[in-house]
């Protein structure tokens, strides 16, 4: 899946480590999601959506 997590993170001036701490995951997990090498589970995707205050489908979407 595609995602705009990196953009949302940098817009807020957060490092990958900052985001990882807030999501309670490792920095490598944030990196893997941002580089689209790993699709998060539903609970983690919901946590990401909640943190950025956006619906999941605005952050994660399939390639058209």
């Amino acid at each position: 899946m595609k995602n705009v997590m990196r953009q949302l993170r940098t817009d807020r001036g957060w490092s990958q480590g900052d985001l990882a701490d807030q999501l309670e995951v490792s920095r490598q997990t944030v990196n893997a999601i941002e580089t689209e090498r790993y699709d998060p589970s539903l609970p983690l995707a919901f946590a990401i959506a909640r943190l950025f205050g956006k619906p999941i489908e605005k952050i994660f979407f399939t390639e058209k």
């Binding site: 990882a20 701490d21 309670e24 995951v25 490792s26 920095r27 490598q28 997990t29 893997a32 999601i33 090498r37 790993y38 998060p40 589970s41 983690l44």
Partner: protein
């Protein structure tokens, strides 16, 4: 933060269990030379498996502590090691039928550990292995 804390706890538990393992291994090997053949000696030589159970417990606890991606990557490395070791054991078993030397079970564990270590490192660079 969470990752560092998890790693710190794991290293403490794993390190403690490994230190105990080395002590028990040394004592059992030394002690076995003074004990006659029998159940007692067998149990003495088997005693290093007690701290090894603690090592496994430490690993399982670590798997529960880490996040989903790290857990998945770890378990994929274990699965890969298991599969390759199974292939090796089966192949070597047939080669033994052809007259090749018999290998001990420690060899099987060594192969598993080596593949586990290599696949853990390799996955860090090329996750996912296939998609």
């Amino acid at each position: 933060m969470r990752e560092r804390e998890a790693t710190r706890k794991y290293l403490m538990e794993f390190g403690g269990a490994m230190a105990l393992y080395l002590v028990v291994l040394f004592c059992s090997l030394r002690g076995a030379t003074h004990v006659d053949e029998g159940l007692g000696r067998t149990l003495l030589l088997l005693s290093p498996m007690i701290p090894i159970a603690l090592v496994i417990w430490a690993y399982v606890r670590q798997l529960r502590r880490v996040d989903e991606f790290v857990r998945l990557r770890n378990l994929q490395a274990v699965a890969l090691a298991g599969g390759i070791t199974a292939g090796f054991a089966l192949t070597w078993g047939f080669l033994e039928n052809a007259g090749y030397p018999r290998l001990g079970m420690f060899t099987v564990w060594s192969v598993f550990a080596a593949v586990w270590a290599i696949s853990s490192v390799v996955q860090g660079y090329c996750w996912p292995l296939r998609r």
